[in-house]
């Protein structure tokens, strides 16, 4: 059995547990992202058909929440918090510095899939603003220099390909 079948079976099991209820959509999207890592259109269509929901509705829900990722995230993920506190404390400037350094836009990955730059609304660490998360590790009271240094560290020697 291929990995894909196993993943599909796990998702099927979760949907069955919810009795293919339309109202379980959010729950199932969560599970699907846990299993697959991200939600591509094929997967969303599959879920829509299994739950007998219009595909546009499923897509609408999946894009409404910033938690759901529609593109495959890179090997290393940097998430900038754009909540009010972080924004006021200048997270935008740091984000722009990262964008410039690696030539990517927020919400995108480098072409070689090494690095992703994502944004989120408030990670609940407002006292530590501005907060940037680099591979599950939060950098509190971040500055441009610290963040860029940290990214360099997680990337190791290899500089991601720029477009």
């Amino acid at each position: 059995m291929s990995t894909d079948d196993k993943r599909r079976l796990a998702l099927e099991k979760s949907m069955k547990e919810h009795n293919y209820e339309e109202s379980a959509l959010l729950e199932i999207l969560h599970r699907a992202q846990e299993i697959y890592g991200y939600l591509d259109k094929e997967l969303l269509m599959d879920i829509a058909q299994s739950l007998h929901l219009p595909p546009s509705h499923v897509f609408g829900v999946a894009t409404f929440y910033s938690y759901f990722k529609l593109k495959r995230p890179g090997q290393h993920v940097i998430t900038g918090c754009l909540g009010t506190a972080c924004y006021v404390k200048g997270v935008d400037e740091i984000m722009r510095a990262i964008e410039k350094e690696y030539n990517i836009k927020r919400g995108e990955s480098t072409p070689d899939g090494k690095l992703s730059l994502l944004v989120t609304r408030c990670i609940g660490a407002c006292a530590m603003a501005p907060a940037i998360v680099v591979d599950d590790e939060m950098i509190a009271k971040a500055t441009k220099e610290v963040v860029l240094q940290k990214i360099k560290e997680v990337l190791g020697g290899d500089k991601p390909e720029s477009r």
């Binding site: 595909p55 546009s56 897509f59 409404f64």
Partner: protein, 237 residues
């Protein structure tokens, strides 16, 4: 909806309407017109455009008339200086949000947003205009969507779901990124569920969805409202 009749005052006039009626409908049935862009008789009320805001005595809040049910003894004010200011503001925000240029719009002279702006005396907007540059999707045989003119009233989504029953259209993202989409954000021609029924074009209050080569003028919203109500009643019997 019960059979009980509720008595309330709208602009000082005593009206009697069935329990559960929304203020907007109650006012309309008694000849009082409250401006609205997102509401359309026959579709589920949405409460998105905030133009039907009214004052209810005893509360400092403003209420959207299309989603506030009547209650006994309510005293509703539909016209006041304060409300006019709020409505003007809402129209200005709508005009600034996307790219509304009447002179090049298919709906010019038949646009609900335009006529409302005229009515309220909005001849400019005090907010910086966004002038969005969204791509126009004209891949469908005859239906065109220009998202730069969309005011996100969701009439098309509701008519597609509730009347046509296919739910091809929906909203993606939120806030300033919100857009009308077909299926999984596909081009219209690739939509697997669209039945090309044209209802979305007919209910669009502006020139965002239109039928290629056809003037927008003849799709007066009143006619379509009657059509929808009639269809719905026919279905219920």
């Amino acid at each position: 909806m019960g059979d009980a009749i509720v008595t309330l005052k709208i602009d000082g006039v005593e009206v009697h309407v069935p329990e559960g009626t929304m203020i907007l409908k109650a006012a309309k049935d008694n000849g009082i017109i409250i401006p609205t862009l997102c509401n359309l008789e026959g579709l589920t009320p949405y409460g998105g455009c905030r133009l039907c805001l009214v004052e209810i005595s005893g509360s400092p809040k403003l209420f959207a008339a299309c989603i506030t049910p009547v209650s006994s003894g309510m005293e509703v004010t539909t016209q006041s200086e304060k409300l006019k200011e709020y409505r003007k503001m809402a129209v200005q925000l709508l005009l600034a949000e996307k790219s509304h240029v009447c002179s090049v719009c298919v709906a010019n002279d038949h646009c609900e947003l335009q006529s409302l702006a005229n009515e309220l005396g909005v001849d400019h907007t005090m907010f910086e205009r966004n002038f969005t540059k969204e791509e126009i999707d004209s891949t469908h045989d005859f239906l065109v969507i220009d998202r730069n003119r969309c005011i996100l009233c969701t009439r098309c989504i509701r008519v597609c779901d509730e009347i046509e029953g296919v739910h091809t259209l929906d909203l993606r993202m939120r806030g300033k990124d919100a857009q009308i989409i077909m299926d999984l954000d596909n081009k219209w021609v690739n939509s697997c569920s669209c039945t090309s029924c044209r209802k979305c074009a007919k209910v669009c209050p502006v020139g965002a969805i239109y039928i290629e080569g056809e003037p927008v003028g003849h799709t007066k919203h009143k006619e379509i409202a009657e059509f929808i109500t009639e269809r719905r009643q026919r279905k219920c019997k």
